[in-house]
Symmetry: D2
């Protein structure tokens, strides 16, 4: 109804105090590899920079949604995007801040192509004292032809 | 902007022509067991009736979000809810209609408790000619203390 | 990604310390009448109790979305729902807490009928230290035949 | 759950068959001026091109959310964004297609500044046979410092 009144700083400004791209990359690799569910899905860290992150979900037979279609399940794409949003936030703040998904909306433009892997890219475009706002996209062959988009809010728990 | 102009019928009305609870249950079991990603997550069909469905996500070590917390990943809960919404729709229309997630919003009230399994319940409360509207809830110990809620729209592809 | 770690209490528990139905009603009337945009839309307070609120949007010619249809604009219904969510939260916490819409998802089942007024009902079903979770519904003739549903998160700014 | 199976074409491709920028502009002006609720809010058409649209919500005393704050109500910003999404779609398809808001998620980064007008920009980035996917942003002083973002799906009713 009214303003949330918190002092907001841009994600980029916050990030500049916190991490270099190298540190960000190391954190990203650890984050993706060290999370059991990410590992179980076979997620692979691709890249990160302050406020941004990208992760690959390699196609796998057991991640298919409907038998015989060979297309990754929407739920697997959502898990990929959720994780990629987390990566974008951690790339911004470092591991002293644990982001928790507060809410996430995902739109599915279409199914991923049969036997296609999916890449996600997330951008944390705004942070307040307690909330990080993130947008993400996912595609199989080309970023010009998206599989899914997402918009999410994460809570920030400062350690 | 304007009305979508389609003749809408209630999900319950649609369902009454299509399925008995028994048939619904058989479809539900097949749907959950027969979907590779559902099987990989270990989802277990609990119940269904026209327009409603319930599925269990048993706790498992490799579905944990953050190492050492023993709490199911939000992305796994989302996958559970997505599947449960699909079950609610199929319970309504039968397998002649393939529902596809168009968009889904999930709110996470809190993490599931350590080592806790999660149950989801979905209700398809409205259908138009091309769209099914669904709401869902998920909890670990008690439905009075929710882990997550969701609101989603699915497209209906009549076979 | 991980738990948000805050001590959550149920909205109902919080409410029991804060307000009686009478006080809630007085606050509700003041809130709806005292907010310029609510007044401009012609919103009318219907009822409230701890964690719940209901507001009416009377039909008016200048709130129509598309000329000649006589149907209330979706944006007017969204404004009604946003305000009703705020009422549900204030009915829970009192005016010491200023709720601010963090994010809101609205689904439109159909347009409201020509020349029909719309009623909204919102329920604040969970609160954490900083976030209130709300669901709402809107209908014209009957609550059995919804015009719109919404799911939202509000930030709580304690005064 | 599964693919929606429709032949999708890019919004840009669709647009190239349908409109020139000039025609788009004339439609846009008519759409914004001719819609009663848009007119009542005082919305002003700014620009449009195939798949994109921009509208201004000039600050006005009676659109304030909370008395004494002089800040536009979130619900007014939502109405602005909803209308701007519609403009982006009509700019793509022409008036032969009536877009209807199916669902819309709005995130509020912060309140608009006191006495500040708000500008919205929407992009229809994907269309299928029955659905248009749109994203939008709104700001007061600078597009670098957003007030709100939105992600929405509209149904397309071909006339």
């Amino acid at each position: 109804m009214t303003s949330d009144g918190t002092k907001a700083m841009s994600a980029d400004a916050a990030a500049s105090f916190e991490s270099t791209t190298d540190a960000s990359e190391q954190m990203g690799v650890r984050m993706v590899a060290g999370a059991p569910y990410s590992a179980a899905l076979g997620l692979r860290y691709l890249s990160s920079s302050p406020g941004r992150g990208s992760i690959l979900l390699p196609w796998r037979d057991d991640l298919v949604g409907l038998d015989g279609t060979f297309m990754l399940a929407p739920g697997a794409v959502t898990a990929l995007i959720d994780q990629t949003c987390g990566l974008a936030i951690i790339s911004c703040f470092g591991t002293r801040t644990l982001p928790a998904t507060l809410d996430l909306r995902i739109d599915h433009m279409r199914s991923a192509a049969p036997r296609a892997s999916v890449t996600a890219l997330a951008h944390c475009y705004k942070v307040t004292r307690t909330i990080a706002f993130v947008r993400a996209e996912a595609w199989d062959a080309s970023r010009e032809d998206l599989v899914a988009t997402a918009q999410a809010a994460f809570t920030l728990n400062r350690c």
